[in-house]
């Protein structure tokens, strides 16, 4: 659920929603959500002073009821 929720939140605020991909990784110390977006959108997802990234993290942790790590990844590195 939490990966879907984050995907929805991010898709709504970027120009290239089809390029949004969220992967959930569970490890001993909790959950990490890896978010990949189009390179053009990375600034939007981070926001001024990291404000948008912080909002995403706050909402995701609230929905999950625990602290969830959110990593933003620029797909430029892969392509």
């Amino acid at each position: 659920m939490i990966d879907e929720a984050l995907e929805h939140l991010v898709k709504g605020i970027v120009d290239n929603p089809d390029d949004v991909n969220v992967k959930e990784k569970t490890h001993r110390r909790g959950t990490t959500l890896e978010v990949r977006v189009n390179p053009e959108d990375i600034g939007k997802v981070i926001g001024r002073n990291g404000r948008t990234a912080k909002a995403l993290r706050t909402v995701v942790s609230a929905l999950a009821g625990r602290s969830v790590r959110v990593d933003l990844i620029d797909t430029d590195e892969v392509r």
């Binding site: 879907e4 929720a5 709504g12 970027v14 001024r48 948008t52 912080k54 909002a55 706050t58 929905l63």
Partner: protein, 174 residues
């Protein structure tokens, strides 16, 4: 670098520098886009809640009511502010224009409004009686606006001072 545009965007006393007001139709469109975004979130999270859409004071205004939504408000409305921020961005992405929409969940802002109006009235009275200005605790933009609006209605003046997140209101006598 001080972030001036943000202050202009949200704060009541500085709003006159903003662009021409948006039409009601435009604000209704903002409300619809925002509601879709929020509804999608509620669906995925399997949360019950009705979304009321309204236009007031030149802004789209949305409220999610019903259901178990306390965790979406968070401590001092921290989660609520984050959801509002993301919803504004979703609207902006869709329309190309910045949005100043207001979101309430579970009546949190409505309750806060009541408290702050009462506080402003009490402090205004105190400023008048003592004849000296009164500094309030730091507040966010939404809260400061409520104080400014109340003080203005009472015929006194107030100003914001300091930098976020420690920006606070000063109330002046007469």
């Amino acid at each position: 670098m001080p972030d001036v545009t943000e202050v202009v965007e949200v704060e009541g006393t500085e709003e006159k520098t903003a662009k021409a007001p948006k039409s009601v139709a435009k604000l209704e469109e903002e409300g619809d886009i925002a509601a879709d975004y929020l509804e999608g979130l509620l669906d995925i999270a399997d949360l019950d809640g009705d979304i009321d859409i309204d236009v007031e004071n030149g802004r789209a205004s949305l409220a999610i009511v019903g259901g178990k939504l306390k965790h979406l408000v968070g401590n001092e409305g921290e989660v609520l502010d984050s959801i509002q921020e993301l919803t504004r961005l979703a609207v902006q992405t869709s329309t190309g224009d910045r949005s100043r929409l207001m979101l309430d969940i579970d009546g949190f802002r409505a309750g806060r409004r009541k408290e702050l109006t009462a506080l402003a009235e009490k402090m205004a009275e105190q400023a008048k009686t003592t004849g000296s200005s009164i500094k309030l605790d730091p507040m966010n933009a939404f809260e400061r606006k409520i104080i400014h609006d109340t003080i203005q209605t009472l015929g006194l003046t107030s100003e914001s001072d300091g930098e976020d997140p420690n920006r606070f209101v000063v109330i002046y006598p007469a």
